[in-house]
């Protein structure tokens, strides 16, 4: 493996100042994206600054209107959390379907959202549930956070500290996993909550996660599977690769949205 200097930050301020002093520093969270990237020599940072030692970055707090999950909370802990399972079962199910058990034992919410992989699961939860991304310097609404493939509105050195998910009245998540990688070929999060109906799609868009206003409008009138049956999804902005063409992905968006609505209506996400 290529050379880099490792350090373990003791506080947010410590992490920021180490990053500033480094030629090319990168924060390290669960390492389940960053370390494979380094092993393949697709990046060559001078410094890795581990966030795992910073107090208060991991943990789940359930409030009356929302659940706040620390950036360093592992996928496995979100999936197993009694609070998340009770209040936002679709989110627990999503976390429990990421990758495989070993990846879920290391990978973190903050790392996944900061990375904004167009085939990742969590971006669909953040956008589809209308969450707020909290950083070391501000709060960013989901609609203003994602900014195209592997890109977010985070500034240089900005650290995600937690994500606040409002409690929906109901929500459903359905993923069509890529059979080999387990990432999303397409996945859809549907929710009805304080911000109305939200429908977010990951895995399919050329620019990463996106909302589908036609489905949202139909569901706002009538939150039923039938209400969205006739809706055709255009394939112009869909990804196309050796695994699935744009037309197929567009078709899957409609199919999975209907299944997600059915799940939300059944009130269970299993």
């Amino acid at each position: 493996m290529q050379d880099f200097k490792y350090s373990r930050a003791k506080s947010l301020a410590d992490a920021q100042s180490t990053l500033k002093g480094a030629a090319e520093g990168k924060y390290l969270a669960g390492g389940q994206t960053l370390l494979p990237v380094l092993k393949q020599r697709l990046a060559s940072p001078s410094d890795l600054i581990d966030l795992a030692g910073i107090a208060d970055l991991a943990g789940i707090k359930a409030g009356a209107q929302s659940i706040t999950i620390g950036a360093m909370t592992r996928h496995a802990d979100v999936a197993a959390s009694a609070d998340v399972r009770r209040l936002i079962p679709a989110l627990a199910e999503l976390a429990g379907g990421i990758g495989d058990p070993h990846v879920r034992n290391r990978g973190t919410l903050g790392g996944s959202v900061a990375n904004n992989d167009p085939a990742a699961d969590y971006p669909a939860a953040v956008l589809g549930l209308g969450a707020t991304v909290k950083t070391d310097r501000r709060s960013i609404a989901a609609d203003n956070f994602f900014d195209g493939l592997f890109t977010t509105k985070l500034a240089e050195g900005e650290i995600i500290t937690a994500i606040e998910f409002p409690r929906p009245n109901r929500a459903g998540y359905v993923k069509f996993p890529h059979p080999a990688s387990r990432y999303c070929l397409v996945a859809v999060m549907v929710s009805e909550g304080p911000q109305g109906v939200r429908v977010a799609v990951t895995g399919a868009g050329q620019q990463g996660v996106f909302r589908v206003s036609a489905i949202e409008a139909a569901l706002a009138k009538s939150f039923t599977v039938k209400a969205i049956e006739g809706i055709k999804i255009a394939d112009g902005d869909m990804m196309s690769d050796m695994h699935a063409g744009a037309e197929y992905r567009a078709h899957l968006v409609g199919v999975l949205a209907r299944r997600a609505v059915a799940k939300a209506l059944a009130g269970t996400s299993n």
Partner: protein, 158 residues
């Protein structure tokens, strides 16, 4: 070079680790625990699965320095002398291996899973093995082994 302290298979140890050393390399190259296998460089095969503080992880996708203070269990830590761990015994009984390359990772994944799931269904077992690839067996015998091994572990506990 950072000096780290850890417990491997119940024994306390320390090591000087380069910043960029992977946990799999600490185990295999420094500690000569070569039962932990390396089957890919993309973090997908699970041959390198070990337990860190009771949780299954891919040791090729964690830095050695991140294991400072951790309790690590590898495949070498399962058997009790000549007596196989119940999960190892189940793999033998069910012929859950052919070439054996994936086996240490499969067994470590299965033990971590079975500790929380004493009587799993076939479907649950298959989902639990999503991070472990086998090129030989077609998985069926591995799944059978994990179901038997999980029950054996539960009855050994009670």
């Amino acid at each position: 070079m950072p000096r780290i302290a850890f417990t491997v298979n119940g024994k306390a140890g320390t090591a000087e680790v380069p910043d960029n050393q992977l946990l799999s390399s600490l185990l295999r190259d420094t500690l000569r625990l070569t039962g932990t296998h390396i089957g890919c460089d993309t973090s997908q095969c699970g041959a390198c699965t070990v337990h860190v503080d009771g949780r299954s992880v891919k040791s090729c996708t964690m830095l050695a320095v991140q294991a400072d203070g951790a309790e690590i269990t590898t495949i070498e830590g399962l058997a009790n002398g000549d007596t196989l761990h119940p999960m190892q015994a189940a793999f033998r009984t069910h012929h859950g291996l052919q070439c054996g390359f994936c086996t240490p990772g499969m067994v470590m994944a299965a033990v971590a899973f079975a500790e929380k799931n004493p009587s799993p269904t076939e479907d649950e077992v298959r989902r639990s093995l999503e991070g472990n690839l086998c090129r030989c067996t077609g998985y069926q015998n591995i799944v059978d082994a994990v179901i038997t091994g999980a029950k054996a572990m539960a009855s050994a506990r009670s």
